[in-house]
């Protein structure tokens, strides 16, 4: 018996209305999801993956229309159904787990009421029965105290908990199709790992099909059975997950997989990048949409659109040259520049930055609390951190959100004033307060910010922004011509043409804005550049460009970096030295190789274990952290990590602060467990 696919899209075309004009977003996409299958939909931002996923549920934005094609749900065309018929299908037969967990929960109702509403509506359950089902659902998504959580309001829950509630809602009617639209993008990597485990088992229990939409190739590799790769609104490839990752046939897939930084250190190499940017909806290439960026494109690729061909059982690829790629006669090599010459390391132990006992606390410093000596209302964001950045090297600072890593970086550059501690720049003590720092110190200490969209003033051209920085921080008087020359030089250093100087930020892509921000940080040859999550808002292929660029500039300018990230894979590529931070303290530091292999602090171990490897054959590690980072207002006593530590050894962890233990050549771990025991524990772990 032939099984009907759960959902089948045939030659679907979707248009958006932008400025009174219809532009095509999804172009003739066909997609089949079979029962019991978890189908991955992967693509960069703007590829149309969310549009497509929602269109499969016949859920469209107001300014979108389905121009042609059909969507068959168990053989029935959804596009012919009336709205009231769709309302019976939505929520009951297909449901959605959205990207932003909080925005999709109604703040005015308790969790229990919201989940109960669905079964009352779709299954006609009575109020008490629906309420009971809601609590059961919360239990199924492994919420510890479901009765209590059911009585809470959405804002009282953490992001991970909110996403559990969303999945409980989505699964409460046992839908045939579950659409997950980037459900873990907003979460920390440790929380993500827990939620992914949960998804995996729940999707299996639910015995329906699932569509998992993500830009993260690691998550897709770990979650899905089959994967469709979307680019500029067209399917580039579709394959079982093992084959897609082990043996990709499309040049786009090959380049994308190559551009991911791997969690294992590889400083010597550069990340291969995909040149250019994805085409905008309005000006899609006539031939193959990927041709302008493809390293192996022929004239034919520009002239004629390749067909989506079946290359094997369940494998589709849209490329003129897939046969050559498949039989190995055409190697797809993305542009690969040799690494720039490194500055020779400085002799001895030269440090560009020394931080000693730095502390920062926030809180309502009201007159009353000061007089009363009430300390409880303070939030200790950074607590006595001592660390060093060696000259011409990169220190990576990693940790979950709430670990204090951003506050620490902001204290160092002076955007926040540290309460206690000393900051030594090039062995000279500098004031903690930004206003007291002389221009010479400002020059040596610059910063790259996280959000590319507010890093540049929208009312100033790129040239104006760079010129101003040069003029403010210059060491000698410069003529206007010299300043302009320097602007062009800086733009060239970040691979931008001189005409970018006349552009406004609105005319730049996210990656280009971030490049200008990097150019601005390097405007006055700083000794140390602090980069706060410089690539976390960017797509994988753009991230590779920025990571390469940061590396090149460090080599070229002889600067040092302090890079903050929650992405341990990206930071492994950049950093020589890693410091792991938890609740305002550093818990482990060492060279990248040392930190990424045993022995490591149980917290580091959990962070590493949580990384979804972009390879379906490598299973995610199984060390999981339950719960959330405790609030910095109520720091646990003893070892701060004991409330979540999977390797807690006993009462000592709750009572005594752990000592620093030396693991050799500068590698230090702050834990009660002796180094030898950690090695044994971690090497025996499966």
């Amino acid at each position: 018996m032939i099984q009907l696919p759960v959902i089948a899209a045939n030659r679907l075309c979707i248009d958006y209305k932008l400025d009174k004009q219809w532009v095509n977003a999804i172009n003739g996409v066909s997609l089949v999801i079979n029962p019991f299958e978890t189908h991955g939909l992967v693509g960069e931002s703007g590829s149309g993956k969310s549009t497509l996923a929602l269109a499969l549920m016949r859920y469209m934005a107001d300014n979108a229309r389905i121009e042609s094609g059909e969507v068959l749900f168990y053989g029935e065309n959804l596009l012919l159904k009336s709205d009231s018929e769709m309302r019976r299908i939505w929520g009951r037969q297909m449901s959605l787990v959205p990207q932003d967990p909080l925005a999709s929960l109604n703040p005015a109702y308790t969790i229990g009421e919201q989940i109960a509403e669905i079964t009352r509506l779709h299954e006609g359950l009575s109020r008490p029965a629906a309420r009971q089902r809601a609590v059961e659902m919360l239990e199924r998504v492994r919420i510890a105290d479901p009765e209590a959580v059911a009585r809470k309001y959405p804002h009282q829950l953490s992001g991970g908990m909110q996403q559990r509630v969303n999945i409980a809602m989505a699964l409460s009617t046992q839908p045939k199709l579950l659409v997950l639209d980037e459900p873990t993008t907003a979460l920390d990597v440790t929380t993500e790992a827990v939620i992914l485990d949960l998804f995996r088992s729940l999707i299996q229990e639910n015995r329906g099909a699932a569509l998992y939409v993500s830009h993260n190739l690691g998550v897709i590799a770990q979650m899905c059975d089959r994967v469709t790769v979307l680019y500029a609104g067209e399917v580039m490839a579709c394959a079982p997950v093992d084959e897609l990752y082990a043996n990709p046939l499309h040049p786009y897939t090959i380049s994308l997989l190559a551009s991911i930084p791997r969690p294992l250190p590889g400083h010597e190499t550069r990340l291969p990048t995909i040149p250019g940017v994805a085409p905008s909806l309005a000006e899609r290439p006539r031939g193959c949409v990927f041709a302008p960026r493809c390293p192996v494109a022929l004239q034919q690729c520009f002239d004629e659109k390749p067909p989506l061909e079946e290359t094997g059982p369940g494998r589709l690829v849209k490329c003129h040259r897939w046969r050559e790629i498949a039989d190995g006669t055409l190697p797809v090599e993305t542009p690969h520049e040799p690494p720039a010459a490194q500055w020779p390391a400085l002799p001895g132990e030269a440090h560009v930055l020394n931080v000693e006992g730095l502390s920062k606390r926030y809180g309502s410093r009201t007159l009353f609390s000061r007089v009363a000596g009430d300390e409880s209302r303070f939030v200790q964001a950074v607590d006595g951190v001592t660390m060093r950045v060696r000259a011409r090297s990169t220190l990576g600072l990693v940790g979950e959100s709430g670990s204090g890593k951003t506050t620490l970086a902001r204290c160092i550059v002076g955007l926040e004033t540290a309460d206690e501690g000393r900051i030594l720049l090039l062995d000279v003590m500098i004031p903690n307060m930004l206003r007291r720092r002389s221009r010479a110190f400002l020059r040596e200490l610059q910063m790259v910010f996280q959000n590319p969209n507010d890093t540049l003033n929208p009312y100033q051209t790129v040239g104006q922004a760079l010129e101003r920085t040069i003029r403010r921080l210059k060491t000698e008087p410069l003529t206007p011509e010299r300043i302009q020359a320097r602007v062009i030089d800086l733009l060239a250093a970040v691979r931008l043409t001189p005409d970018y100087a006349g552009r406004y930020p609105a005319e730049l892509s996210g990656g280009e804005k971030q490049r200008v921000a990097i150019a601005r940080a390097f405007a006055a040859n700083p000794a140390l550049v602090v980069a706060d999550e410089p690539t976390s808002a960017l797509d994988v292929s753009v991230q590779a460009v920025i990571l390469n660029l940061l590396k090149d500039l460090r080599a070229r300018e002889g600067a040092s970096y302090l890079v903050i990230s929650h992405d341990l894979a990206a930071i492994a590529y950049l950093a020589d030295w890693i410091a792991v931070m938890y609740l305002g303290q550093i818990v482990e530091e060492g060279s990248t190789e040392q930190v990424y292999s045993a022995p490591s602090h149980p917290y580091t171990e959990a962070l590493l274990s949580a990384i979804p490897a972009p390879d379906p054959r490598i299973k995610q590690g199984n060390v999981r952290l339950e719960g959330e980072v405790p609030s910095a207002a109520h720091i646990p006593c003893g070892c701060r990590f004991h409330t979540r530590c999977p390797r807690k050894i006993g009462a000592i962890c709750e009572q005594e602060e752990p000592p620093w233990r030396e693991a050799g050549s500068g590698h230090r771990i702050r834990c009660h467990i002796p180094i030898e025991d950690l090695i044994v524990l971690q090497n025996s772990a499966p």
């Binding site: 400002l442 922004a465 043409t497 970018y500 100087a501």
Partner: protein, 299 residues
């Protein structure tokens, strides 16, 4: 990548004028797409024109009492009729346009300027200074506008300068609040922090980095305040606290005509209609500006 052409070909710095011109054309196109905004702009432009040339094209002086022409209904000779004293209403409305625009305009300008400076400063520095001044301004907001005006003008005597002072005092807290909240949205941006990290003085950050960002809020707020100020000025005129007789004041003309409304209704219609038209025009314009800037102001 783009390193194919690193040698400068086109001048890297496009003429700034060209860019401004492009922005202006874009704005005009926006106006054209919104007929109501265009109507508002046209009304405001007409009244501005009247304020400038009104006294020159008025057929009679504002205080001329035409013999034997009292209580005449509108006619080609007297388009708006004459009042009970025999003064030409059309001429008086034309003469009055100058004051009804100049007083609120000047007052709004001063209030918006001071309020913007204060709002940006408070929003940027934050801390206890902001806390104290903001609370004081909030408490000023609770004073009813007319009450303050009556008390103040009653004390210092009715005069145009008095009205300007009253409006400025009333509107500074409101403008400050709006600009302060617009500044708060900008303050934590990366580009402000980048400016701090290169040691820019506060004045530079306020006027070069923040001001362009609050300009949309400023334009909308300015237009809105202007329309309220017109209304307030007319109200004060009506209560006899504005420009003193016999000079023409639309508000006072309405009040004077009220007594003889049964016999000379036109003497009330035209000044009242002029006030309404101007306020509606300014409001349409403010509303359009808000949409054009996609600014959601909290008024």
């Amino acid at each position: 990548m783009t390193d194919a052409s690193l040698t400068p070909q086109s001048p890297p710095y496009l003429p700034r004028l060209k860019r401004y011109a492009r922005a202006l054309v874009g704005m005009l196109q926006q106006f054209r797409a919104r007929p109501l905004t265009l109507l508002g702009a046209a009304i405001v432009a007409l009244f501005l024109l009247l304020a400038i040339i009104g006294p020159h094209i008025a057929p009679y002086p504002y205080d001329a009492i035409i013999r034997g022409a009292a209580r005449l209904p509108p006619s080609p000779q007297h388009p708006f009729g004459t009042d009970r004293l025999g003064r030409d209403v059309f001429s008086r409305v034309l003469w009055g346009a100058r004051e009804i625009i100049a007083i609120p305009g000047l007052a709004t300008g001063i209030a918006v300027f001071l309020g913007t400076c204060l709002g940006m400063f408070l929003g940027y520095i934050g801390g206890w200074v902001d806390e104290i001044i903001s609370r004081v301004l909030d408490s000023l907001l609770s004073i009813p506008a007319l009450l303050l005006a009556l008390v103040m003008l009653g004390t210092i005597g009715p005069s145009p300068v008095g009205i300007v002072i009253v409006i400025v005092l009333l509107y500074i807290p409101i403008v400050t609040r709006v600009i302060r909240s617009a500044t708060l949205n900008i303050r934590s941006s990366g580009y402000i922090e980048a400016a701090r990290l290169r040691g820019e003085p506060v004045v530079y950050i306020l006027f070069r980095e923040i001001l362009p960002g609050v300009l949309p809020a400023l334009a909308v707020e300015g237009a809105l305040r202007f329309s309220y100020a017109i209304f307030l000025t007319a109200s004060l005129g009506f209560l006899g606290l504005g420009v003193q007789p016999p000079s023409p004041d639309w508000g006072r003309m309405v009040n004077e005509a009220r007594e003889s409304y049964a016999r000379t209704p036109w003497a009330l219609w035209f000044p009242a209609g002029a006030i309404a038209a101007l306020v509606i025009g300014v409001n349409l314009l403010a509303d359009g500006l808000r949409r054009i800037f996609r600014y959601e102001g909290q008024v």
